[in-house]
């Protein structure tokens, strides 16, 4: 089982659309796939037409009173399941902290300490059932995001092509570099790229060449991607022969190759 997480401290950079589209493409390629919508806003759940509701809420899941398995919903697509969002996820930091307190070594202040590994532990039983897990992370720097970074094998970082985006990536790399033991791979990619803007062109071309952790594929800013929330489906389903679908397919191909390359090196 390989765990991918879409993460960025900023909101509105294309995390959810990326998670939804890549999870769909992973499933389409034959991988048994599950997407966990960790964002209390429930955008990914909405796009799969699944109600953002988990029985017992996030508390029951995080405390282990209800197995993660129980919360899984089948999507309309082969090989693709979803763990829906729930509004109680807004308190997930507290839940993670509470679930991990009461014994053991490693405190919440240590990067990669015990509370930060709770999500990874919850996901472990799914290993027999799934080949790929996608975590759609809320925009924040929190215990939730630290958990996601701890659980993931690959962090997908959507970047808007601005000069600040480089700084974001470096900060994230430095943070992950502090982890003891497990350290996820980082794969950044440019999202919402507008080729008409000179700055976008320059930054994407420069960084794609200079930085190995930046994907060559860029996701353009296209209205068809925005209509995902109207169609409530991955873009490959309702607009299969478009530049948007081709871009996501390219990104998925690169992501798979990236994973294989890293796992063999």
């Amino acid at each position: 089982m390989r765990i991918y997480a879409t993460y960025n401290i900023k909101g509105g950079v294309g995390k959810t659309t990326t998670a939804v589209n890549l999870a769909f493409l992973a499933a389409e390629s034959g991988l048994r796939t599950v997407l966990w919508d960790l964002d209390p806003q429930g955008a990914a759940s909405f796009m799969f037409r699944v109600k953002p509701k988990v029985k017992g809420g996030g508390k029951a899941l995080i405390r282990g009173k209800r197995p993660l398995d129980d919360a899984i919903k089948g999507t309309d697509f082969d090989n693709l399941d979803l763990i829906p969002a729930d509004f109680t996820y807004r308190n997930m930091d507290l839940l993670l902290e509470a679930a991990s307190s009461g014994g053991g070594s490693g405190g919440g202040d240590v990067p990669g300490g015990k509370p930060a590994r709770k999500l990874a532990k919850l996901l472990a039983p799914l290993a027999d059932e799934y080949d790929a897990v996608f975590l759609d992370c809320p925009p924040s720097v929190s215990l939730v995001s630290e958990n996601v970074l701890q659980a993931a094998d690959v962090i997908l970082v959507p970047l808007i092509p601005t000069t600040l985006s480089v700084r974001t990536l470096e900060q994230l790399a430095a943070f992950v570099g502090e982890f003891n033991g497990h350290r996820p791979e980082l794969l950044a990619f440019f999202s919402m790229v507008d080729r008409r803007k000179k700055l976008h062109r320059e930054i994407t071309e420069k960084l794609s060449v200079e930085r190995t952790e930046v994907a060559r594929t860029v996701i353009p800013a296209l209205s068809v991607i925005e209509t995902m929330s109207v169609e409530r489906a991955p873009v490959a389903v309702f607009a299969p022969n478009t530049a948007a679908t081709r871009a996501y397919r390219g990104l998925w191909t690169e992501l798979r190759a990236f994973g294989e390359e890293r796992s063999t090196s």
Binding site: R32, F48, R49, V50, K51, P67, D69, D70, A71, I72, K73, G74, D76, D78, N79, D81, E129, R232
Partner: protein, 597 residues
């Protein structure tokens, strides 16, 4: 990942009636869901072939094996026993495992947690590979239309589960259906697929395809068990829709005119004690002739070794039956002495015709075990011996097939059937002609009960007498002769089994079987040693015997000799257990119709 299924069948007498039922079902579901055809309503086509051995070994073990053909490759699906679901809800194909799952999914508040429709585009199969009660094994290049020996089936979960059960028999296609499955998605108010309706239309392919009643199934989407249950309730209440009480396999067998278990090498007849002995004798021999003839195509096609084995056993049983009660076939409309002599001689000829091939089959069937059991020699040392055996078998098999296609053989089976049918259906004779053995008993005028008692007792007494005369110094031939007598007794017990108390019969047969096993081991090992020596000589003469092979063959014969000695040492104990006072009581109780100890 299991798509739990609630299965139904469309009522109606013809395709028009079925179409009306399906339309009504869609309308019923439309009251609660948006019903949207998948793939624009285009059906997914498939082909399903069920497999079993000629003697229905899988069926008898409560197993169902299906080959589901797919555009690229296919897979074998092995499921549990076919049983009727008490709730009337079954898998779309209706096997027991799915029936249980479907019942759980449709009736329980907590549907199986691992229930998710993974492959809605594929035709529904009764044995869904994601069902934990189903074992699946992908196959590439498998031709389901022809028989396959187990050694042709690649290693895998299905092969390892059925290997010992099936071998040395071949897997044969029992029945095939072509099917076309249409999927409809059932959507909730958010436009989310919460269940699926699968409509499976199958038919037996051929110049005049025989359509089967359409099957309708609700499959659950993971996390939406309640919606699937609601859909199943609506579907079940739709006019003309009935719970699927039988599997597609059962329906297909019925449509193809097959009955599970329609072949057995058992002598299962409906003889009764009060019927004339001549009719019972003819009935038993006709049943044996049925078995002989049923195996001919499999022998000629060399499908597996057991066709020849069953044929030989039936010939041997027929010869023993003639010895035991051939005189009962004489009398008015019965066999003349000349006829009886001709049939007996012809049956012996068939037996002799089949012996060389069967002997080589036995060597080849045991070959791998024998090679593995070598201690001094290496298994590979024996390979030239295997090659030689296979060559010899090919030659002997040609002789065998020529014989079975000969006018003598076809004349034998035709005339034998004619005469036996006349005797069975004719008036029983009251005046017996002298039998070939010289017996002048009025056997043809006896009742079956009297005949059974006399002849079974006679066979028992003869076996006891011959066995009691055997001492540690007796030559091997005396044990071989005793083996024949014991076989005759065993056959007599089998022929007249319908007249006996089953428990009493089992007690007699139990001890007799142990004695036969001992005698069989003694003689078979001796025969095999003799054959291996003869084969070694022939191989040497043909220049096909490397020294290491001869040494390995020597080790094999040494092993056989040890087994023979052990069997001889065991004989006294086995015979005493069979023929002692308890054995006498058991046979008396059986023949008097009272349970013995």
């Amino acid at each position: 990942m299991t798509p739990a299924q609630a299965g139904f069948i469309a009522g109606g007498h013809d395709e028009r009636g079925w179409d009306e039922t399906v339309a009504g079902a869609l309308e019923a579901l439309g009251t609660a869901f948006d019903v949207v055809p998948d793939r624009g309503g285009r059906p997914a086509a498939g082909r399903r072939t069920w497999l079993d051995t000629f003697d229905w070994r899988l069926h008898r073990a409560g197993l169902t094996l299906e080959y589901a053909g797919r555009p690229r490759g296919g897979e074998l699906l092995l499921s549990g026993s076919v049983a009727q679901s008490a709730s009337g809800i079954a898998g779309v194909g209706g096997n027991a495992a799915n029936a249980a799952n479907a019942a759980n999914a449709a009736n329980s508040a907590s549907a199986p947690s691992a229930a998710s429709v993974r492959n809605p585009a594929n035709p529904p199969t009764p044995a869904n590979p994601a069902d934990p009660a189903v074992i699946s094994q992908p196959l590439i290049g498998w031709q389901a239309a022809r028989p396959h020996l187990m050694c042709e089936l690649p290693d895998g979960p299905v092969a390892s589960r059925i290997g010992d059960l099936v071998a040395p028999r071949a897997l044969l296609p029992v029945v095939t259906v072509s099917n076309a499955t249409t999927t409809h998605r059932l959507l909730n108010e958010d436009g989310k697929t919460v269940a699926r309706l699968l409509i499976d239309r199958a038919s037996i392919p051929g110049p005049h395809p025989a359509p089967l009643a359409p099957r309708l199934a609700i499959t659950e989407v993971r996390g939406y068990a309640g919606d699937a249950r609601a859909a199943a309730r609506l579907l079940g209440a739709a006019p003309g829709v009935e719970p699927a009480a039988t599997s597609t396999y059962t329906e297909a067998l019925r449509a193809a005119g097959r009955r599970p278990g329609d072949y057995s090498n058992k002598v299962d007849t409906d003889i009764s004690a009060g019927r004339p002995a001549s009719q019972a004798a003819a009935t038993i021999l006709l049943r044996l002739l049925d078995t002989i003839e049923a195996n001919i195509p499999g022998v000629l096609a060399d499908t597996d070794t057991e066709f020849l084995h069953d044929l030989r056993v039936s010939v041997r049983r027929s010869r023993s039956a003639l010895k035991l009660f051939g005189d009962a076939l004489t009398g008015r409309d019965g066999l003349t002495e000349d006829e009886a002599g001709r049939f007996a001689a012809d049956l012996k000829w068939v037996g002799d015709l089949t012996t060389p091939t069967r002997d080589l089959d036995v060597h080849l069937l045991d070959f791998d075990d024998t090679a593995r059991s070598l201690s001094a020699a290496k298994p590979d040392d024996l390979e030239p011996f295997r090659v030689y055996l296979e060559q010899r078998r090919r030659r002997e098999f040609r002789t065998l097939t020529r014989g079975l296609k000969s006018a003598r053989f076809t004349g034998l089976t035709r005339d034998w059937r004619d005469r036996l049918t006349t005797i069975r259906d004719g008036n029983p004779g009251t005046r017996a002609a002298p039998a070939r053995s010289g017996r002048t008993q009025q056997a043809a005028g006896e009742t079956t009960g009297t005949l059974a008692m006399e002849r079974t007792h006679g066979a028992f007494a003869k076996t006891v007498r011959r066995g009691a005369a055997i001492t540690p110094e007796s030559p091997a031939e005396t044990l071989h002769d005793l083996r024949k007598r014991a076989k005759e007794l065993r056959y007599a017990l089998e022929f007249f089994a319908p007249l006996h108390d089953r428990a009493a019969q089992a007690k007699v047969v139990g001890e007799l079987k142990r004695l036969q096993d001992c005698l069989g081991e003694f003689q078979d090992t001796e025969v095999q040693v003799g054959e291996i020596r003869a084969l070694a000589t022939a191989m040497l003469a043909a220049g096909e015997a490397p020294a290491v092979t001869l040494l390995a063959m020597g080790e094999v014969t040494a092993g056989l000799a040890l087994r023979q000695r052990a069997a001889r040492e065991d004989f006294g104990r086995r015979f005493a257990a069979f023929a002692g006072i308890d054995g006498q009581r058991r046979i008396s109780a059986l023949l008097r119709g009272k349970p013995g100890r």
